[in-house]
């Protein structure tokens, strides 16, 4: 039990803080603990951000990621805490807009536009219409009270910590960070001494096992590492440091990509996958080619994927929309008596 707590406290602590905050913030009749709840929730958010920051380098992408995620989570918390349904709908619009920012960071511009139009433009506005139609005067118990707030928060907390612990266990990048630091050092090596500092002196190793332990580790990780070539470079006697450095420079991007993808399960190699939706993830690349993170022509690629691989699904989705709009009219139409 304590081992578990010790191992996963980085996930457990912010989640516990956040849900204590949400529990205090949920609507109830006495509002005296709302400030405390807001403080606890904010502390949980800060703690989560603190534990997620893994290195000191500050890039625009990192700043934008943290800003949009913080806004999204803040909007979600505000939505749960609002007594007024109009304010809750506006907080939901905030969640949608920040998620759209995250979509843009994830190289999905079409989805960003579509989500803003459909969610913020249509759904939230329609919800606001309904709220106005159904606006009641004064306080109602629908907005002033919560249903079983403690049990609901406990369920949410258990769900969240389970998800975060699984994520932490499967997507641990610390091993890759250590590897990456060593590779970057090798790529910038100027003299033989630099190389020996990272890899250890080959003369110290037992005969018959020339290759340093780092190479064995690299071979075991997800990247396609040419160990023979590295070994060959290493054992030449004036050591070709410049060649070694370029070898590792070429290799650095691969390790970076592998670090970003750690834990992502790839499909089996013999599974036939369509190539209309981008390069299939299980396809072997030709020598010297690198796998790009996204197809460059993203929107065009998405259109091609929709109208080749997913053509039937697109047709079905269109039918679903038609049926849903007819159904909505049929449900909401006010039948006059005797007119049925």
């Amino acid at each position: 039990m304590f081992d578990f707590l010790w191992e996963y406290w980085a996930a457990l602590f912010p989640a516990a803080l956040g849900f204590a905050g949400i529990y205090l913030l949920l609507p109830r009749l006495d509002r005296q603990y709302r400030l405390l709840g807001a403080a606890l929730g904010g502390a949980g958010l800060l703690a989560a951000g603190w534990f997620l920051v893994e290195n000191d380098a500050v890039l625009p992408e990192t700043i934008l990621f943290y800003a949009f995620s913080a806004l999204a989570i803040l909007g979600g918390g505000l939505m749960l805490a609002q007594h007024n349904p109009v304010h809750a709908a506006l907080s939901f619009a905030l969640v949608v807009l920040s998620t759209c920012g995250l979509f843009l960071l994830l190289a999905a511009p079409f989805l960003m536009a579509a989500t803003i139009i459909v969610y913020a433009g249509a759904i939230v506005v329609t919800f606001l219409f309904v709220i106005m139609l159904a606006q009641q005067a004064g306080l109602t118990s629908a907005d002033q009270r919560s249903r079983e707030p403690f049990l609901a928060c406990l369920a949410g907390f258990v769900l969240l910590t389970a998800l975060l612990c699984v994520l932490q266990k499967n997507y641990d990048t610390h091993k890759f960070d250590a590897l990456l630091a060593k590779i970057q050092e090798l790529a910038q090596a100027k003299t033989e001494k630099d190389v020996k500092r990272v890899l250890g002196d080959p003369a110290d190793r037992p005969p018959g096992n020339m290759s340093p332990p780092l190479f064995a580790e690299l071979e075991k990780s997800f990247v396609d590492f040419d160990r023979g070539k590295a070994d060959l470079l290493l054992i030449q006697t004036p050591m070709p440091v410049a060649k070694l450095a370029t070898f590792f420079q070429d290799f650095e991007e691969q390790v970076q990509r592998a670090r970003n993808q750690v834990g992502a399960l790839q499909p089996a190699a013999d599974l036939p996958l369509s190539s209309f939706s981008g390069l299939p993830p299980n396809k072997e690349l030709a020598k010297g080619k690198v796998r790009h993170e996204m197809p460059a022509r993203n929107v065009a690629g998405l259109g091609r994927a929709l109208f080749t691989d997913y053509l039937l699904a697109v047709e079905l989705a269109g039918t679903l929309l038609l049926v849903a709009s007819i159904g909505a009219i049929a449900i909401a139409a006010r039948h006059r008596e005797g007119l049925r």
Binding site: F65, F92, E148, L302, L320, V323, A328
Partner: protein
């Protein structure tokens, strides 16, 4: 070189999903319950888009478009249903529909009554323009 990993996006999506789940379970306003469900969908969409980016193909994005379609349909039907429910009970409180629960469950009873709504403030009326206010004529001497 990017420092934000798949893991970070999945964590944010998990938080959004859990917040939506808490909202759906705890709030009693029908509309906020449906907004919470939409927030859970947003978390799932974020997951799919992140997987698409870090795998380098577009399948996740295509799935997210279908999520969007289904969310739009769901919103249309849900709003029609909410309007119907509101017409029957004249309230958006979901607890008024608890006679639909399982027969062996206890009903939820609100113990504390709601505080009385504040009295509408009585504002002083101004006299309409162009008419003399009725006030007692005082006997005044102008001498």
């Amino acid at each position: 070189m990017s420092l934000v990993t798949l893991h970070n996006y999945l964590a944010v999506a998990a938080i959004l999903f859990a917040l939506g789940a808490v909202g759906f379970l705890a709030r009693r306003n029908l509309i906020i319950m449906f907004l919470s469900a939409e927030m859970m969908l947003q978390g799932v969409a974020l997951n799919l888009v992140a997987f698409a980016r870090y795998r380098g193909n577009l399948q996740g994005q295509a799935f997210t478009l279908f999520i969007l379609t289904v969310a739009a349909c769901e919103a249309a039907i849900a709003l029609a249903l909410i309007l119907m429910l509101f017409r029957r009970r004249k309230s958006l409180d979901v607890s008024l529909w608890q006679d639909l629960r399982e027969p062996d469950l206890e009903p939820i009873v609100d113990e504390e009554p709601l505080p009385a709504p504040p009295e509408p403030e009585v504002l002083p009326h101004l006299t309409p323009a162009g008419r003399e206010p009725d006030h007692p004529r005082e006997e005044t001497s102008h001498v």
